[in-house]
Every structure is written in C-alpha cells, then in structure tokens.
C-alpha cells in the first residue's frame, strides 16, 4: 500500500487519452468488437488459438498506443485471483479430470496431461479477459461506454429491458468511482493519523482485520449514503422523473471504419470457431 494512492493501481476504469484511431471508434463498435473477441476466447478450447488471441489483444494495445507496462499493472492487480484459481486447479483438477497421461500421483493428488492443459488454458483466457476489459476502459471514456450500452440495449426496450435506467446506473456508478476512491484515501490517511494500523501486519488475520477495517468502512458507507441522498435531491431538482420522455444530448455517429472493425472482429470470431485446430493435447506437447 504505497502511500494510500488507491487510484494508481486501478487500471480498469482509467481512460488513457492517446487519441489513437482505436480511441476514435464509435463506442458501440468497440463494445460489439470486444464482445466478439470475448466469445472467441471463451469458446475456443485450444491453447494455440488462445495464444493467437492474446497476440491480437496485444496488437490492439499497440494500435491504441497504450504502454505495455501499464496494461501489466492491471494484470498484477488481478494476480491474487489468478493464483487462487491456479492453485485450486493444480490441487483438484487432476481428480476432476482424470483422463490423459498421468505424470505424477500421490494419494488423491494427481497431475495429468489434461489437468495441465486446463490450467494453461484458463490462465491464458483470464489474462486475455483482464487485458481486453482494461483496454476497453482505457480507450473509451465512461460516458462513451454508457452511451454505447444504452444505444445497444435500446432495441430491447420493447421486451422490458430498462435500457436508460441501466445506463444511468452505470454512469452514476462510474462517476462516483474516483470520488469514493479519494474519499477512501482520505479516511485511510485520517485514521492512520489517529494511530490506526492500516495496512499493518494484523491486516492478514481475518478476525483482527475485520475490526481494523471498521474505522474505514463505517465512515465510507455513511458518507456514500449521504452523497446518495444529496444526489437524489440534485437529480430531482433537475426534473429527473425516470427515462420516459427524455431526449438525448449525445447522438452517436458511426462511420464505415466502425462497421469494418466490427466485421473484422466478427470474422476473427468465426475463424476461431471453425478453424480445425490441432487436437486437444497436440498444442501442449
């Protein structure tokens, strides 16, 4: 916890204005293309294919002129989750998926070709997901994203999907991320000034940590509720009564390049789905 700067390590949700051609795409195009790539990653059970997808994503980062080191920082934040998944799979996957060549066996613990394969695959996929979601928020402002989501969901309005409300919730949530992060920083600093052992050794013991976090959580929630109450007054004072009858200041415009990007992503997805990838294990050994 280097000096209470919370926002420094959160790369998801940080817009990096390099003004590349990726940045200038229509947010709907970005979301749709990202959706295609996520589907491609999720449903292609080949390590080689996922490795290629990783290269595609790094290529996008290069096109968007996002420093690779910065992309990695967000990955480091997700590292504990990744390690947790990795360890769990290492311990149990050999039993759950007993097929394939057995490399090692000791009691109930077993390492098989299949379990190694799954571990490698899920690792690759998770890293790709973290990179891709980080890339979206680095190349699209939160407003672009909310407008993108609202426009994409609008056709489903007739089926009862509250497109506007969802977009508004998203917008307000994103709007308050930096505000609440700053608030949390202030509370941490203030309690540390009063002698609280924030980030100290005891934070690792769950029973002590819960008590140590109380001086942070209680004020954070109280202040968040107070903000919410004031925000409701402010929104009502501006005549907000829900989505009905509202008009829109921002009108999204797509150009041919946007269609091209979505088409390309769609083609990549199809390619990943239908290419005759080598059989399951061949790619690993």
């Amino acid at each position: 916890m280097e000096d209470f700067e919370l926002l420094r390590n959160v790369t998801i949700g940080q817009y990096i204005p390099t003004n590349s051609f990726i940045h200038q795409l229509d947010p709907r195009a970005k979301l749709l293309a990202a959706g295609c790539l996520i589907l491609a990653i999720s449903f292609t059970p080949s390590i080689l294919a996922n490795f290629l997808m990783m290269l595609v994503i790094l290529g996008i980062a290069w096109l968007a002129r996002i420093p690779f080191s910065y992309l990695l920082r967000g990955f480091l934040l997700g590292l504990p989750v990744l390690i947790f998944i990795f360890v769990t799979q290492f311990l149990f996957m050999g039993r759950i998926e007993p097929s394939g060549h057995v490399f090692f066996e000791w009691g109930w613990f077993r390492i098989t070709q299949r379990s190694l394969y799954i571990m490698a695959l899920s690792g690759l996929r998770l890293i790709s997901f973290v990179f891709l979601t980080s890339l979206i928020t680095m190349t699209a402002t939160t407003t672009e994203l909310t407008h993108g989501v609202e426009h994409l969901l609008r056709p489903f309005h007739r089926f009862g999907v509250p497109a506007h409300e969802l977009a508004l919730i998203l917008m307000v949530a994103l709007r308050f991320v930096p505000t609440l992060a700053e608030e949390m920083e202030d509370i941490m600093k203030a309690q540390a000034s009063r002698g609280a052992d924030i980030g100290g050794r005891r934070m690792w013991r769950p029973d002590k940590a819960a008590k140590a976090y109380l001086p942070l959580i209680v004020p954070l929630f109280l202040n968040a509720f107070r903000r919410a109450e004031e925000l409701v007054y402010a929104m009502e004072a501006r005549g907000y009564v829900g989505g009905g009858g509202r008009t829109h200041f921002i009108q999204l415009q797509s150009h041919s390049v946007d269609y091209l990007v979505v088409a390309l992503a769609f083609l990549i997805m199809l390619f990943m789905f239908f290419f005759p990838w080598p059989s399951l294990y061949a790619t690993l050994f």
Partner: protein, 581 residues
C-alpha cells in the same frame, strides 16, 4: 410589488423520526418573493434555512400550510416538472450534484429530462456554459475540477433549464475565497442582466451585503427582515441569533464604540473608507511594528528539504503534485500555510506526519528521515497530530467517548490512562466529558462533531498539531469557538500548523506564514510582511485580511504612510484608527 413568483403561507414542516418525537424544522413561515429580487436568507446551522430552501421547488412539501410557485401549489405532483424548471437549485456539496462524467453532458441532464429537442439542448448547453465561464472546460471530467468550478457547472446545469428563480443553498460554503467570489459575481450578474430571481441561503453575512432583501431565520421562523443595512444594524438581536457581522462592519462598529460620532453601519470596504476619510483628523503618529512577537524562535522540529512528490507516479497520468518545497516548523509557533485550492498545500502538510513520503528530497521530523526504513512512522504520526479537512466525516463510533478513545486504545494504554486522555482531550475542545462521552456521535451539530474529531487527534497528545482548513464549512459560531481554542493553545506555547483560506483568522493567529502556489513555496515571512503584499497575494488567487485591505485603501488615499500596510490585526487597527478619527 408585482405578483410574487414564490409565495409561502404559514408553512410548517416536521421531519419524522421513527420512534422519536418529530423535529419541527419550520414553524410558520410567511414569505413572498418578487420576480427579479435578490434575496439572502441567513441563519446558523439548524435554523431551518435549508429546509425552507427545499420548499421553494417542491423537493419538500409543507406538513401544513402552502407554497405557490407561479400560482402552482407545490402539493400538485403533476406540476413538479414545471415547478422545478422554474426554480433551479444549487446545493452545498460540489461533488454530490454532478451526475455525468463529462461537464457538457452534466449541463445537458436537465434539458434532457425536460424532453427538449436535440438542437435546443445544444443551444442551451452552449449558452449556460458561457454564462458561468466554463466553456473551455466543457469536455473535462468533473472530478478533475476545483470546487468553485464544480459549482459553476452545477449553476450551468440549472441555467440550461432556463429557470426564472435560482436558489443557492449554501452553494459557497465549501469554496475557497476566489471560488466564492466567482459564484457570487455570477449570481449578481444573472440577477442584473438576465433578470433571474436569486434566493441565496448562507450563514455568512458578507454575502448578503449587496442583496435587495435579507431574511434572518432562527428556530424555524423568520426573525428579522429588511434591507442589508436595516438588518445589519440590529446588532444585539443578530448576536442573539448567533450571526456574526462581516469583518468590515465589525471594524466600523468597534470604531463607533471608540468614537461614538463615527458611523458604525458601513457594509463594504468602500463605505468604511469613505466614512474614515470624512472623519479623518490625521494627527501624526509614530509607527511601531504593529505586534511584538511573543514567540521566541524555537528549535526547528520539522524540516522539508527540497521535497517533491508525484501523483499517479509511474503511470501515463503522472503529474507533479509538489516540487522543491523547503520549509520548517519551529517549536512553539503557530505556522500558517496559505494557497489557493489545488496549490499543493494539503499534500505538503501530509508529509509532516509521514502519511506521504517524499519522492524527491527529504522530510525530517524530530531528526528522523521519514523515508528511512528504520523510522517508525507510527511514532511520528503520534507526535505530529494531523486533523484533516472536514474531520467529522471520519467519525465512526456510536458514542462520542469511544470515538475519541480510538487513538489512545491503539497505543495499548490502560483503561484509566485512556479515560484520562479522553477527558483531557474533550475538555481541551470545550466538550464536557460527563455530558458528552455517552452522546450519540451522529446526533451532534456540525460544530460539535468537528470538535469531537479534533479531540480524537488531541487524545494522542501530539507534540505538533497540524490542521487542514479547520474552520471550513462551519457556521460563524462554530468557527469562533474553534478559533478561540486555537488562540488559547497558541498562547500556551503549543506548536501548531494551520492551513486556512480565511486570512482574517490567520491575521489574528499566525506567527509566521508560508505562501504556496503551483506546488511550491513562493514566500515565507511574518504576517505583517506577507499580508502587506496585497497585489501579489491577489495574483495567486488569495486575498489579504479585511484590516489590511482597509489600510491599503488609506495608504493609497495618501492618509497613511506605507508602513501602515503592515497592520493586519483587528485590535491594532481599531487602536490606530481610533486615534486618527
């Protein structure tokens, strides 16, 4: 008087509380506001003025009685959209009223809700941003703006709905002096040029000086009403309502008490200077330094050596927060730090107790380098107590006593020692230990909560107490109580560091000042020398104390020699001017 645009008739309002007696916030308010009027509603915290404000645009509806806006009763839900686009409202907290993540989209939020066509929204957004001077910032993210800029955005958001009335509900309470002046200037211009009716709610009387009508609230009722001069000259009554006249008026009153023929009703600097000129007798006078320094220069206990620090270091968003900061704190002095919002002064003060450690240069606290691995930062944090801005927002225990005891308990002291420290700390801020320790923390007034938070730091019994904007956001009574405590501690020889925007407070308190701008220290010296440089301070978005401004005007008029600019304390000014009129 033309047909009122807003009319309140015997309005009562009570806040219901589950399981407890309801709070009577308004107890029979009658009020009519005419189109084009500039009305200021004054009152201390808890006087009912903000509750009254929320009745003006149907955010609250009276328990009994009626409110009409352009003839629409606010009880009529069907009219709320029209009522709210007629009466716009700007609230106290700059952060909590901005909805969108881009300035221009936030301004568009109201017109979008009104269902206006796209072209009309664009026209209104352009116009509203122009009105508040925020056009260059239209694509910015609101959280990167200063408080004053956020409030301008909030005003633009209201203007875009083309309201006939603009209610400012303590909209300047959280701003620095420049931010406040900017908002007031906009309000007056909108009133004069656009004919928009302004209702401004505040606890600062200086904001009421240029109003058409002043209304003073207390106890849920209107206590006093009239032109600013009519209201401000009711001194005894105002004091009983916990209202504090502006510094200029207080100076006039003090001179009046000294020389009864001198009029005590000046509201503005110009009026006071005109009165002084009229009654000037101008006998020659010898100048002393204005103040003898009671504090012998003690040992330097905190040193900053060429300190620099980045924000968001090693990311593409890296910015330099402070650089080349050289300063020191001496034992037994009250050190003032002044600078506009965003100048870096909070970042600087957070280095004093090792909350932040320098990226460049070094900070030594009691001869220990805060970057040294062997330095125990918890010891430094205990010896240098730091009180944050709005520290009451960091309270978390149900009972006052427990909250104050949080720090001492972390030190592993015995129950008796903790209790003794809590008692001493609470008594130091004027909270009776027996009476307050078992009170519910969140049922206290704003001023009381601030003092509880202060006691929480004092209970660590630090050697240095550093305070970041200790009086900001408090009503005048709360401010005066806090200043009295600071003055007492100063005179007891405590070491204090205080960041403040309030130059009148620092003029009375500080032994020495640092001026911070653009992330570095640009001037250091005793208050007499610093405040005498009025133009330089104003160029940095700061101001000088009211006393210095009066002196400056008299020097410029040739009535006083330039040395008079060094006078900055209230009593010194009264003593000097009293001899000259």
């Amino acid at each position: 008087m033309s047909e009122p645009i807003i009319r309140l008739e015997n309005v009562h309002f009570q806040y219901e509380r589950p399981g407890e007696a309801p709070i009577q916030a308004l107890k029979g308010v009658d009020l009519a506001i005419a189109p084009g009027e500039y009305v200021v509603i004054l009152g201390h915290n808890g006087s009912g003025k903000s509750t009254l404000a929320k009745h003006l645009n149907a955010l609250l509806v009276p328990t009994t009685g009626n409110v009409w806006v352009r003839g629409w009763n606010t009880r009529d839900r069907e009219r709320w959209r029209e009522i709210r686009s007629t009466v716009g409202m700007v609230f106290q907290s700059p952060d909590n009223q901005i909805v969108a993540t881009v300035v221009e989209e936030d301004v568009a939020f109201g017109p979008e809700n009104m269902g206006l066509p796209h072209d009309e929204i664009v026209r209104r957004v352009d116009w509203a941003l122009e009105q508040v001077g925020m056009t260059p910032y239209r694509y910015r993210a609101p959280h990167r703006l200063s408080g004053g800029q956020k409030q301008r955005v909030a005003i633009a958001g209201m203007l875009a709905m083309r309201p006939q009335v603009l209610v400012l509900d303590e909209a300047t309470a959280m701003l620095d002096p420049i931010g406040r002046q900017g908002i007031l200037a906009i309000a007056h211009r909108l009133n004069k040029e656009e004919g928009i009716t302004i209702v401004a709610i505040t606890h600062f009387m200086e904001e009421a000086v240029a109003a058409d009508r002043v209304i003073v609230m207390a106890e849920g009722r209107i206590q006093l009403e009239g032109t600013p001069r009519e209201v401000f000259t009711q001194r005894a009554l105002l004091r009983s309502l916990h209202m504090e006249p502006p510094p200029i008026t207080r100076l006039a009153m003090a001179l009046h008490a000294h020389r009864p023929y001198f009029p005590g009703d000046a509201l503005t600097l110009e009026e006071l200077v005109a009165a002084l000129k009229r009654y000037w007798r101008g006998r020659p006078i010898a100048f002393s330094d204005g103040r003898s320094f009671s504090v012998a220069a003690g040992d330097s206990i905190i040193q900053y050596e060429d300190v620099g620090r980045f924000y968001m270091r090693n990311t593409p968003l890296e910015v330099k927060a402070i650089e080349h900061v050289n300063m020191h704190v001496r034992a037994g002095e009250l050190l003032g730090v002044i600078g506009h919002t965003g100048s870096g002064k909070s970042t600087i003060i957070q280095h004093a107790n090792a909350l932040l450690r320098p990226h460049e240069g070094r900070v030594k606290v009691f001869d220990q380098d805060t970057r040294d691995q062997r330095t125990d930062v918890r010891v430094i944090r205990r010896r240098v107590g730091l009180v944050f801005q709005q520290p009451e927002r960091q309270l978390f225990e149900r009972y006052v006593g427990d909250d104050v005891a949080f720090g001492p308990r972390q030190l592993g002291l015995s129950r008796e020692d903790v209790r003794a420290r809590v008692r001493r700390a609470m008594e130091a801020v004027g909270l009776d230990f027996g009476g307050f320790k078992d009170r519910m923390t969140f049922s206290l007034s704003g001023g009381e909560m601030r003092r509880v938070a202060l006691a929480g730091v004092l209970a660590l019994e630090p050697d240095v107490l550093a305070l970041d904007e200790p009086t900001a956001g408090l009503d005048p009574q709360g401010q005066n109580q806090l200043i009295d405590h600071l003055l007492r501690w100063r005179n007891q020889g405590e070491t204090l560091v205080m960041i403040s925007h309030n130059m009148d407070h620092l003029a009375e308190l500080a032994d020495r000042l640092y001026v911070v701008a653009h992330g570095t220290v640009i001037a250091e010296g005793n208050p007499a020398d610093i405040f005498a440089q009025v133009e330089r301070l104003q160029a940095e978005g700061l101001n000088a104390p009211a006393v210095t401004l009066v002196m400056q005007a008299l020097v410029q008029a040739g009535l006083l020699p330039p040395e008079a600019m060094r006078i900055h304390r209230f009593d010194d000014a009264v003593a000097l001017l009293g001899e000259l009129i």
